[in-house]
């Protein structure tokens, strides 16, 4: 579903990403681990065509994102570290707007509410302005936007950082559900625990290079941490 082929991004004098090759299939969660500046966000931004690759290509469902950005964005959903919404609008209104932009203008209010409920947002919060929302609540609206869009691939940029354990756990549950629905998920994170728990595969990045690709089911928590630190220190 999501595929990077020799994907590289160089800025003047520095390399943000070099020759990344990875593939995320439907029903898979691929966790990218790495320190700040390792190239995780760059990868996600390349998939979203926010920036242009220096070489190589990123494809979504076989389509090069630089060739047909609007086509590929129909398939993608993006949840940034901070899901920021229009503060003067309610969750429902925000959802309606983003769904409309994604080409789904046909949703009834009931359907939209159903997406919010499925994302775990309490019904009494739907009509509140999002300026009063906590980070976790906004994250849920982000998921609802992805659901409403019927996205087949999800790009997450450190979605759980700053969430309290309970919210984080709830969020993981939601991702599990999406995976169950056959969505391909690429998630950049610092959270080794979540990566171990959720990931179908885990990639460790450092200085723009994908250093290792692991199957977390074969490892314990301590093993993952040890391998990660090994890669960070040599």
């Amino acid at each position: 579903m999501l595929k990077a082929e020799n994907l590289s991004k160089r800025y003047e004098g520095s390399t943000a990403l070099s020759d990344l090759n990875l593939e995320v299939n439907p029903g898979e969660i691929y966790c990218l681990l790495g320190a700040n500046g390792a190239g995780k966000s760059t990868t996600i931004r390349l998939f979203l065509n926010f920036i242009q690759p220096s070489s190589g290509r990123a494809t979504v469902d076989g389509v090069d994102v630089t060739k047909a950005p609007l086509e590929t964005k129909k398939v993608l959903a993006y949840i940034p570290e901070q899901v920021m919404l229009y503060p003067h609008l309610s969750a429902l209104e925000n959802l309606e707007y983003f769904a409309a932009l994604a080409g789904h203008e046909h949703y009834s209010r009931k359907e939209l509410e159903a997406f919010l409920l499925r994302s775990g947002l309490q019904a009494d919060a739907h009509a509140q302005r999002v300026s009063t929302y906590s980070k976790g609540m906004r994250q849920k609206v982000g998921i609802a936007i992805a659901l409403a869009k019927r996205a087949r691939a999800l790009l997450l940029d450190e979605p759980t950082s700053g969430l309290d354990p309970e919210a984080s756990n709830e969020f993981s549950g939601l991702l599990q559900q999406l995976r169950g629905d056959g969505v391909a998920i690429l998630m950049a994170t610092h959270d080794l625990f979540r990566a171990k728990e959720l990931g179908s595969r885990v990639g460790i990045m450092r200085r723009g290079l994908l250093r290792a690709e692991l199957d977390p089911s074969t490892l314990g928590h301590a093993d993952l941490e040890r391998i990660y630190l090994d890669h960070m220190h040599d």
Binding site: I51, Q52, Y86, Y97, A102, G103, E105
Partner: protein, 479 residues
């Protein structure tokens, strides 16, 4: 185009939630209304001056006719200086005509030059110069301040309001964090920007045109539909330029406050600096000589011509022997002599006077050439021409006065040299003033090039913003 409409409605809703928008809206409405009020009052004063002059002239003519009848009936024998049947007397003070410039139907929209030049210019044998006619009494500090008319509101303030609404067109989305989510949707950045601009442009345009139009209907004495249409087109084009400029700055700039500062500087450059630069260079390249020296020069000419008065008269009667009075040139009376001297001085000074107009015309040409540097100049010139208070109509007025004065002199010349007397019924044959008003076609011709230039500017700004937004290539504005 469903999403486009959706973005538009979303933006409008967002705008209505913004305090700055409400403040701007109130400002637009209040300022437009006040400005039209100011313009309407100035127009009213103008109309009053014209009416007073016309009434005074009519009354003076009744008295003149009566006085002439008295003389003819032999009931009065005034001195040569008072005798109304003498053409030299009738052609100067007592029978002088007023060249009047009537206000246009759209004059309340721009005061322009109308507060500097009197709309009523006496035309008498000695001359008729609108630029040195005694002006209305006015506090010079008020002239220095300039009027708060609609042209000022549109050219100076409207851009500031447009910028207040659009300086954070994209930067705000980035700063509140919604830009990433927004651009991860299958919607192109161009279309997004275009929709955002359209919402703001539409809001401000409707407010300005609506408030302006309403104020005209209520205060300005009604609307002239085609002029209002042109006015609205100018306003729309000018607004579009500033919106486009805000978009360019948003695409190339960074945070909102930097954008605001950059746009404030651009405002300064386009609204203040370029117009001032064009004006100052025009005055440097084509300086108008000081009128002070003309005053003294004129006296010098009068002295010289007076010394040669006999020769001047002899020359005239050589050309028109049929008018030569009994006896000789020396028998010519004082008035004929004075008239001849005056005519000769005028013709000698004609090239000097012409230089003032030539220089002024050269300045205007310079401005016409360089007005393409700033949409503000284009807008201002178009607005004053549309109102009929700009240089174009002023020049037309001057030209017609000159022609009328020539006609006036031509009427009296044979009468004076022939030493003839006027009969009361001759008053009906005197040339009378009628201002040959600009036709609609001429107004359109004066305004359209500027409007076109304005649209080019707007198109250029929008085009470069959209060009910079082309998908592909990293952009500073991306999340």
């Amino acid at each position: 185009m469903a999403p486009m409409r959706r973005i538009l409605t979303h933006e409008v809703r967002g705008l209505f939630a913004d305090r700055i928008v409400w403040i701007s809206a109130v400002a637009v409405v209040l300022l437009s209304g006040y400005a039209v009020h100011v313009g309407a009052r100035a127009t009213e004063a103008h109309r009053g001056q014209v009416a007073t002059a016309v009434a005074e002239e009519a009354e003076r003519y009744i008295l003149l006719r009566a006085a002439m009848e008295e003389v003819h009936a032999g009931n009065a024998s005034p001195s040569a200086f008072q005798d109304p049947t003498r053409p030299y007397v009738a052609g100067r003070g007592r029978g002088q005509r007023y060249a009047v410039l009537p206000p246009t139907s759209f004059q309340a929209s721009a005061v322009g030059q109308s507060d500097l030049f009197p709309p009523v210019v006496p035309v008498l044998l000695d001359g008729a110069d609108p630029r040195s006619t005694r002006e209305e009494i006015e506090n010079p500090v008020h002239l220095l301040s300039g009027p708060l008319d609609l042209a000022f509101v549109v050219t100076f303030l409207l851009p500031l309001l447009a910028l207040a609404l659009s300086f954070d067109l994209l930067s705000r989305e980035r700063e509140q964090g919604t830009l990433g989510l927004l651009l991860s949707q299958p919607i192109s950045a161009r279309r997004l920007t275009l929709a955002k601009l359209a919402a703001r442009w539409g809001l401000l345009f409707l407010l300005t045109a609506g408030a302006g139009g309403l104020a005209f209907v209520l205060l300005g004495g009604g609307l002239t539909p085609d002029r209002f249409f042109l006015w609205a087109a100018i306003v729309g084009g000018y607004l579009a330029f500033w919106m486009g400029l805000a978009a360019v700055v948003n695409v190339t700039g960074r945070d909102s406050s930097r954008n605001a500062v950059a746009l404030a500087f651009l405002w300064l450059v386009f609204v203040v600096l370029i117009p001032a630069g064009v004006q100052i260079t025009a005055a440097l390249v084509h300086p108008v000589p000081s009128r002070a020296e003309l005053v003294a020069l004129e006296r010098e000419e009068v002295r010289q011509v007076q010394e040669q008065a006999s020769a001047v008269l002899a020359q005239y009667f050589d050309d028109h022997p049929e008018l030569l009075p009994e006896g000789s040139v020396d028998a010519v009376d004082f008035q004929t002599r004075a008239f001849a001297v005056n005519q000769e001085v005028r013709s000698r000074l004609a090239p000097v006077r012409a230089r003032y107009r030539e220089r002024l015309e050269a300045q205007r040409e310079w401005i016409q050439t360089f007005r393409w540097l700033s949409p503000t100049i284009l807008t201002y010139e178009a607005l004053v021409e549309l109102a009929g208070t700009g240089d174009g109509r002023m020049e037309r007025f001057e030209g017609e006065i000159e022609a009328f004065h020539a006609e006036w002199v031509a009427f009296f010349e044979p009468l004076i040299y022939g030493n003839r007397r006027l009969a009361p019924e001759d008053l009906d044959r005197l040339p009378s003033w009628r201002f040959d008003e600009e036709g609609d076609r001429e107004v359109w011709a004066a305004v359209l090039p500027g409007l076109l230039g304005l649209l080019l500017f707007a198109g250029g700004a929008l085009g470069s913003a959209l060009g910079l937004l082309r998908d592909g290539g990293d952009r500073r504005w991306t999340p």
